[in-house]
Amino acid sequence: MMISRRTTLAALAFSLLAGTAMAADTIKIGVNEPLTGAFAASGTYVVNGAKIAADEINAKGGVLGKKIELVIEDNKSNPTEAASVAEKLITSDKVPVLMGSWGSSLTLATMPKLEEYQVPMLVETSSSGKITTSGNPFIFRISPPSSVEADAFEPIAKKLGLKKVDFLVINNDWGRGAAADFSKMLKANGVEVGLTETMDQSAQDMSAQLSKLKASDADTIMVTSAVDQLTLLFKQMAALGLKKRVITTGGSQNPDQIIAQAGAAADNTMHLTTFLPWWPEKTPNPEATAYFLGEWKKRGFEFAGATESFRGYDGIRSVAAAIAAGGGTDPASIQKGFWKVDIVGLNGPIKFAKSGPTGKESGQSKPNVYLIEITDGKVKQVQLGG
């Protein structure tokens, strides 16, 4: 009874949205990702993960009795385009909900559009703190901002007995944010913070920064960057004979790609990550992880991409859960539905907590954070329990 009433209401709400009511046999989800330009590789991985989730959901009968349909658009790794794409998806394709936009500047650029059209968006990758603290109630994020990651790292830092830490970060919101949040946490725990060096996001030669870090008296270097630059860093560290403890943050490491491309240079590096595809049985949702990895393999994608693409998979599943929980296919119901989402994603429970100014809170889910270490070309989890 309850359900049927809800559906009637939803249908009513739906028919009020001009133009959409007729084509209502599918529920459209807009996907706004970088498929060309600087972030093409990552955006493509996320989209591949999203497709797996959509196919899985549709095979099981869809949501609210309807199939979901992904409308995927390329934002060209450019903020102006990201805003235009959001506009297109919302107004031309009439999607009631979006997922996007990988990089923080891309996501920030789409946010005024969400407010303008009152359409919710699931943020799957971006890490900038501003996204969930600026009072945009249409934002629901499953990726951890660096402050969440820093908090999760706190017990690990104590256990590792860090004395003095230098930072080497990519010169964008992600790297700068990580350096700021981790410094704050470390200082609060009595760990000394030394240099903070930056590198351009397209830089390939980091030997100048590394030589400087080599000469510093810190025992640990914390690095934030994406997989390609990490690979180069490890190779160049080996070439410089730089042998300090290295911990990477940010969850975009794809350790398998690093092992394959950096070889022995990647040994003894530690990585903070949010997903453990190496041991599906150890993840919070073994069944879903096994299914996701199976599909990933079946479609012929490289295993290394799984640590990036799982966010697309979790993202679409969260959107579908929000649609189901909201009981309607209009933006307002889906926005309400997001607050009721309670599923187990591949890296922990997905459940949105309020973040930002009262009355206009964004949603932030808190994923698990794990520490792994590469030893002899193999990934192993660093046990932190006990």
Partner: protein, 346 residues
């Protein structure tokens, strides 16, 4: 023939929102309009004085940052214990300051770099743009660096009888961009038709002759650079208050490339060229988007660019002019003899 292009564009684009309700296309037209203003300003340098600025995006970006920071406010400490605190003010003041400050930057760059010509001017402008981008990226206290300036307010205009009106809707922003574009066009048209314009063209075609006739080369070029930069700054301000978030990506070299494509494909040194090139290459990506894969869109974009230059090496507008000339030699000879002035009097 082509002298009617600009007024025709103005009428057509003034009427567009009456029939076009699709916000996505309106948004595409607004962005295209902003880039077209940049292209027009670049044309003043590249087309009329022959000096190629490959750092034009610097003025666009400075305009965007100045305007946004004026509206948002900032608190920054400088060396020697100096500290500047600004509370945040009206976006209109931001627009005025953006125009003024980018004009000043253009003047300084002009003064410094017009001691050198040609390739070296290209180089100074590229270097300037790259340094400005890196300052925007690294001076976090002022610009927030890569963390981006967010929640930039919409442009506010004082309207008689209504008080201050914030331009929130697409339609309002569309007409604002159209108005700024029209004013920019008129300024360039008047300038080009004036004595000053003849001095610019004289320098472009035969510098030593122009100098012997008493034209002050550095002064002429500097004035052109100042006006050109100020217009790009105006476009940057419009962009900041429309998109409402800016980060150092506004200095992307690809924006300069887009501006150059618009000017040269449309026809540099013609008044209508940047308009035609701007509309074409502004809307081409929109037209390609639904048709093919993302990578293919870029390939077709590049191929169309090459095809235009192969068929019309001097650009679309000059090609149309010579076509018209061939058809009606008697009536059009005058404007063709002075192609730079074609369309000067809308």
């Amino acid at each position: 023939m082509t002298r009617f292009i600009a007024p025709l564009f103005l009428v057509v684009f003034a009427l567009v929102p009456l029939g076009l309700k699709d916000p996505y296309l309106l948004n595409a037209l607004i962005i295209t309009g902003i880039l077209t203003i940049c292209a027009m300003s670049l044309n003043l340098l590249l087309g009329f004085t022959g000096q190629l600025s490959l750092g034009h995006v610097a003025f666009f970006g400075i305009g965007a940052y100045v305007s946004a920071l004026t509206a948002l406010g900032f608190d920054v400490s400088l060396p020697f214990g100096l500290r500047i605190t600004h509370e945040g003010g009206s976006p209109l003041l931001g627009f005025v300051l953006a125009v003024g400050l980018t004009g000043l930057c253009g003047y300084l760059i002009g003064r410094l770099s017009f001691r050198v010509r040609g390739a070296y001017f290209v180089i100074v402008t590229i270097s300037f743009a790259e340094v400005v981008r890196l300052v925007a990226l690294n001076w976090v206290e002022l610009t927030q660096g890569p963390l981006a300036l967010t929640a930039i307010p919409n442009m506010v205009l004082p309207v008689p009888g209504l008080g201050d009106v914030a331009l929130r809707s697409k339609m309002q922003n569309y007409y604002l961009v159209l108005a700024v574009a029209a004013v920019s066009y008129l300024i360039i048209a008047r300038l080009v038709a004036s004595r000053f314009g003849r001095a610019m063209r004289g320098l472009k075609e035969n510098e030593s002759l122009a100098l012997s006739l008493g034209i002050n080369a550095t002064r002429t070029l500097t004035v052109a650079a100042t006006i050109s930069a100020a217009m790009a700054g105006a476009a940057g301000s419009l962009y900041a208050h429309y998109i409402r978030i800016i980060d150092p990506d506004v200095f992307l070299f690809s924006y300069t490339v887009t501006m150059v494509i618009m000017v040269v494909s449309g026809g540099k040194g013609t008044l209508a060229g940047p308009l035609v090139g701007g509309i074409l290459f502004g809307l081409l990506p929109v037209a390609l988007r639904p048709v093919m894969a993302p990578e293919a869109q870029w390939i077709v974009y590049g191929a169309i660019l090459i095809a235009i230059l192969f068929l019309m090496p001097r650009g679309i507008v000059p090609a149309l002019e010579s076509l018209a000339l061939r058809r009606r030699p008697a009536t059009e000879t005058k404007s063709a003899a002075k192609p730079a002035e074609a369309g000067a009097n809308p």
